[in-house]
Symmetry: C2
Subunit: 450 residues, 2 copies
Amino acid sequence: MPSPMEGKILLPASELPNRWYNPQPDLPTPLAPPLDPQTAQPVTPEQLGAIFPQGLIEQEMSQERWIPIPQPVMDVYRLWRPTPLVRARNLEKAIGARCKIFYKDESLSPAGSHKTNTSVPQAYFNMVEGVKRLSTETGAGQWGTALSFACSQFGLDCTVYMVKVSYEMKPYRQILIRNYGAQVHPSPSPMTRTGSAMLKKDPDCKGSLGLAISEAVEDAATHEDTKYTLGSVLNHVLVHQTIVGLETERQLASIGAKPDYLVGCVGGGSNFAGLVLPFLRRKLAGENIRFVASEPRACPSLTRGQYRYDYGDMARLTPMLKMHTLGHAFMPAPIHAGGLRYHGDAPILCNLMEEGLVDARAYFQTECFDAARLFLRTQGFLPAPETSHAIKAAIEVAKEAGPDENVVFLYSGHGMLDLASYDAYLKGELTNFELPQEDIDGALQHCPQV
Amino acid sequence: MPSPMEGKILLPASELPNRWYNPQPDLPTPLAPPLDPQTAQPVTPEQLGAIFPQGLIEQEMSQERWIPIPQPVMDVYRLWRPTPLVRARNLEKAIGARCKIFYKDESLSPAGSHKTNTSVPQAYFNMVEGVKRLSTETGAGQWGTALSFACSQFGLDCTVYMVKVSYEMKPYRQILIRNYGAQVHPSPSPMTRTGSAMLKKDPDCKGSLGLAISEAVEDAATHEDTKYTLGSVLNHVLVHQTIVGLETERQLASIGAKPDYLVGCVGGGSNFAGLVLPFLRRKLAGENIRFVASEPRACPSLTRGQYRYDYGDMARLTPMLKMHTLGHAFMPAPIHAGGLRYHGDAPILCNLMEEGLVDARAYFQTECFDAARLFLRTQGFLPAPETSHAIKAAIEVAKEAGPDENVVFLYSGHGMLDLASYDAYLKGELTNFELPQEDIDGALQHCPQV
C-alpha cells in the first residue's frame, strides 16, 4: 500500500477551515496606518466606505485573530477547496535534492489561480450590503477572471477594466471573463472621464495598470450601486488568502511533517502571505520555519526597494501605504510575469520583512522559465510565469536544505493562458532585465515626503 | 460538520486502483475481430507488431478480466490521480433537478483531459520494449498534448502530426506540445512521402485527420525505433480508461450511493467507455444502471450510423473494425467539438450498443454550449466543447430522473485552450448542422463489402 507521502495529500471536505487567520494582533510591531493621499492623515473607515463595503473595511482594520468564514463563502470555496498538497518527487529526483519538496496547488480553482480565495468573499460581503455591481482593473487578467467568477456566483454585475495591451495580447482572458457574464473594457475606455480624456489625447494609447485602476475607482465612485475591488496588497485580501496556509498546516500535520521552508512568489504579496501567515505564531514562538519570498529582478521591491510611505497607484488616487517600494512612478520592464510587476508590496508582508522574518530573493525571468520547464517535464503541469518564480526559489532552497527538511512552495496558478510567453521562451526571445540603481533612485524621488 | 455530499468526494492515494478492467470476457457476444484492410482476413498479432508493441497488442486481444497496472505507470498516474468526484449542487439547483448530479473530473490531468490515462501506459509499454520514439496524429490537439506529456515522463522522443488548420488556429496547443519536448509538424508536412506528395499537389492544403494518421503511420512504419499510437477506439485504449470508472465506483461506494445514470460524450468512445465499463457486470447482473452516450447531431455515428465493418481512417490504412459508422469517407461539419468528429466508434462500445445496453442521444452544438455556459456560471469551471455534450445529456437525463436517483457524468476536459470557440459562441456565430440522410447514405456507399 502506497504511503500518503507518495503523491497528493488530500484534506477531507469536512476539514476545510471555517475561519481565516488575521495576523494583525500577532505582529511584533503594529502596522503603520494607511494615510489619506491629500491630507497625509490616517484614513478613516468612513472614507473607505465610499469604495468598499463595511464588512471588508472591518476586516481591513480588525484586531481579531480569527475571522469566521460565512457559510455562503464556504459553499463556493467547496467548488474547488480543499486543494491538494503534492509531494514533487520527480522534481526532487531531477535536482538531486536531499530534502522533500511539496507544493500547495492553488491552480485548481475555477479561474486557475489563488485569486478566487479573495474574490469570492469580496463579492459576498458586497452582495450582503446591497451592492449590485463591482468594478476592478486587471493587468494580466488573473484577477479579472477571478472576480468575474465570484460575481457570477453571487449574482452581481461586474465591470473589468483590462489594460488594452493585455486585452489585445491575451484575447483568451477577456473571452473567459465575458463568458462568466462580466463586462470587460479595454482601458483606456470611453466609459469613464479618465479614459475618455486619455483617448482624446492619444487614441492609440495601450493603457497601463495605473490608468485602469483610475478608471475602475472612478466607475465605483460615480455609481451609487457600485463598489471597487482590489486583488492584492490590502490587509483583508491577505486575510482571505490565509485559507491556503491553514489547509497546508493541516495537511502537513496529517503526515506528521513540519515545514522548514515556505516559499512563494511576490507581486503584491497576497499569495505568499496566504501561505506563510498561518505559521507566523509558530515562527515567533521559536520554530525554525523560514519564509522565502521570490520576486523578479526586473521589479525587486522587497530586495531593493525602500521601506516608506508611497501611493498604491501611479495616479496617486489610493491611500498611502507604508511598504517596500520602488516608487509609484516606477515603470517595470515588460517581463512575462505580469502579476509580479508592482512597484510596492502588501504592508503586512513589509512589516514582517522589516522584522527580519522574511528572506527575499530575486531572479531573472529566463532562469524562472527554465525552472518552469523542469517542473513541466518532471511533474507534468504548466505553471503560470508568476508561479515559475516560486518554483525557481524552491529549487534553490531545496539545494541548501538538509535531508530531513521539508520545502513547501505555493503553486499559485497554471499557465494555460500564458502559452504565448512559453512560445517566446522556446524561441529564445526572452530578455533579462537588470535594473540600474539610478532607475530606482529616480523613481523614488517622486515618493511623498511623509 | 459538512457531509461528504457537499463538495468533492476524494479517494485516498492508497485506494488508487492497481489494475484495469478488461470487458472482453464479460461481453454478452464476443467482439468481431479486426480485419486486414487488404485481405479482409482477421488481423494477426504479428501484423500489428509493425506499428504497436507486444505489451499493448496483448491487451488489445486479452481475455483476462483484470490487467495489472505496472508500478511505473501507477507512479505517473499519482501526479494527478485519483481525481475527485464532485457533487454539482449548484447545477442541480439551477435546473430544478430532483436527483443528485455528480461529475468525475478528468480535466485535472497535466494535459487537461482523460487522454493521459492511456498515453501514459502506451508510452510505458513502448519504452520497456526498447522503442525510442512515438509518432501520432492530433486534430484538436488533446491527444498530442497527452502523448507528449507521457513521452516526457518516460524519456521517449515524440513526433506529432497536427492537422494544419488546427496548428494554425490553435497555436497554444502546439506550443504546449513543444514545451513537453515533442516535435510537432503541421500536416501535411515534408517529413513523410504522403505529406510531401500532398504538398506538391496543393501547397496550401490545410490537412485532415485522415491525412495526419497516414503521416504518423508512415513515420512509424519507416523507422525501426518508432511506433505508432492511437488515442481512442482500440480495445487497449478503452481498457486503460477504465481507471476512471473504477475510481468512480469506489467514490460512490464511499458515500453509500449507486449510479442510476452514467453519462459521457462520444467521439471515438474511450472516455465514455472508461466510465461505464467497470459497471458492466453489475448492469448485466440486473442492476438498473443506464449508460447514456452523447454525440453531436453533426456526427451522429451511434444514433444514425450503420453497424458494419469499416476502415478506421479515410486513407484505408488501418484494419477494418466492426462498428457504428457514418462511412470512413464521411466528412463531418466543422463543429467546435473537434474530438467528436469521428465517423466511427470503438468496437467494444458498438458491441454494447447492439446489445441494447447503451442509450445514445445526439445534440446540436449551440444547446451544448448553452449547457457549458450554465455549468460555468453555476459550478465555476470552463468545460471543453466535447465535454459540453456530456453536460447537456446529463442535464436532460437529470430532468427525467427520480428524486432518489444519481446521475454521474464524465467531465472529460477543460476548455482553457478552446476559448476561441467560446468567443464564437458569445458572438452568436455558431451554426447547427442537421445532417441530411442522403449525406450519410452517400458516405456509407464507400464502406467495404464484408
